[in-house]
Symmetry: C2
Subunit: 323 residues, 2 copies
């Protein structure tokens, strides 16, 4: 299977390494890369250090020349409207290409429409890495829980705020804690996205749209971040056996799915309180299995790349057989 | 799809109710039931209160007369050798029937052989409900984690011992605690299977055989149960912020997969310590996603029946198209 990438940052490089390591079992090849600064196309594979020429100005032309079966969209999150990722994906569908993204924007802002367009174009749309990196959340609900509706969820999904809260609990100021998280390489370029709850809101909207047919946008999420907290307040809570996490909650109300993101005070023995560092926890309220949890201890670019890889494996099943 | 059942206890009845409730979306019908006491066969469906005649003495004859596409095997666990469930499943394969079981015995004792036989017979073998009821553990690893080996696991899988330990921590004697667990309907007919760690050993062997190609039997598991614990010891540990759970652990050593079941003393903030009542937690050590956890808050006969149902949905995809 031939793959085109849009974007070539940390996750794309991790994906290139993973594909090289798995080539024997999974014969996938990156044949084209498009970034704002340049375009690389090589039917024999662009390699791990692509030879970028000047950028093709037109995305359609890139897709036509790429010779790819699937596009992996890896531009950074724009939390306001999910662009330009949505445009990149729509254009891929229009060119008969399967599309995979690690960007939560498209699913948070435009899932229902993109699903319809993919269906109409006869291609697949996958986004496992958009929430909880490679943990197969979307795959599990889509294929492993037949006839079992998702009624709601609670979750800790934003690693940056967890790392910041832990550092503040240990006595650092908010600014010092953010600086520390930055050294771990887990902060979005603008830390406000995390601190104000926008990242968690986008992930919550993505989950609700896909798992609960919620048809919401991140703007519909009632989100507050962690800025009002102080090291003193966290130390006081700790002395009372409590801690704080940025928690996403969804439930189906009379007027549709309600979504909320809050810095919640939790008892130490609450499963959500036990999320540490770059770990994530998602507790699904299900129709037939009660509360069903998925957790990961540590998620970063390599785990996100694995999510893209697992989507590529899935999509490769839909390719026409080789002549 | 037409389904035959072997056994008609609590889980079978829950499955019959679930199939009746889901008939519109999933047109599955129970057309035959075989128990030690009687046989019921009705091509129009046996209903929720099957009309049992005398038992057919020969299983092959039952399968030939049943008119089923798939068999659901539901006899109780025999932890020593997995029989007669293994025989029931082999005979199903020999009659060209897909086989599904909630019994951990066959997978714990004879997984590699049964997998080969199913493949040779061109039928499917499924056992999602054998560990963690309907939580899609086996499905997730088989279909959602391509190219990601399972390196080991730790888990709390036996509800009875958790309920007994919680009751003893609250001051009850072992005998009183077992009596309490029995009123909840979660104790195997012989409580020793649970208390001595046999149930956990069988589940551990089942997981290791399927997820790690371990080729072990429950007898190879180094298992000790919870009998040496007293209410006094548990109260003392509680005062030190600790608790006890029956923990299964697997890792790949030089000479194959090593499995251990122990009543472990855990810190209160350990995820395994936070398993309560009939909850289960499985922490998989994975090649590409670090520690990946699956948890369920409360598992019983209805959740086990759902596991069988999800297997039936999966198997139904392999039926030849209707003429």
């Amino acid at each position: 299977m031939n793959v085109a990438l849009i974007g070539y940052g940390k996750v794309a490089k991790a994906l290139a390494r993973l594909l090289a390591a798995e080539r024997a079992r999974f014969p996938f090849r990156i044949v084209a890369v498009q970034t704002r600064r340049g375009t690389a196309i090589d039917p024999a594979g662009v390699g791990e250090a692509p030879d970028f020429g000047p950028p093709l100005p037109d995305l359609g032309e890139f897709y036509r020349r790429a010779g790819a079966d699937a596009v992996v969209e890896l531009t950074p999150l724009n939390p306001v409207d999910g662009e330009p990722a949505i445009h990149h994906i729509r254009t891929a569908f229009a060119h008969g290409l399967h599309a995979i993204t690690a960007n939560k924007g498209p699913v948070a802002h435009a899932y229902a429409g993109l699903r319809r367009e993919a269906l109409a174009a006869g291609v697949q749309f996958r986004f496992e890495a958009a929430v909880m990196a490679g943990v197969p959340v979307f795959h599990m609900v889509r294929t492993g829980l037949p006839g079992c509706a998702i009624l709601g969820f609670s979750a800790v999904l934003d690693s940056t705020t967890t790392v910041v809260l832990e550092a503040m609990e240990a006595g650092l100021s908010l600014e010092e804690a953010v600086a520390k998280a930055r050294t771990l390489g887990i902060v979005e370029s603008d830390a406000s996205f995390d601190l104000d709850g926008w990242d968690a809101a986008a992930k919550s909207a993505a989950l609700a749209n896909v798992l609960m047919d919620a048809n919401v946008t991140p703007q519909k999420v009632d989100a507050k971040g962690i800025r009002r907290l102080t090291p003193e307040k966290l130390a006081d809570l700790k002395s009372k056996g409590k801690t704080v996490r940025l928690v996403s909650r969804a439930h189906r109300g009379k007027d549709g799915v309600k979504l909320r993101v809050r810095a919640e005070v939790l008892d130490r023995d609450d499963a959500l309180a036990n999320v540490r560092g770059t770990g994530n926890l998602l507790l699904l309220e299900t129709e037939r299995l009660g509360t069903l949890g998925l957790m990961a201890s540590s998620l970063g670019p390599a785990e996100t790349a694995y999510g893209l890889f697992s989507d590529l494996v899935d999509v490769s099943r839909y390719l026409p057989p080789k002549q």
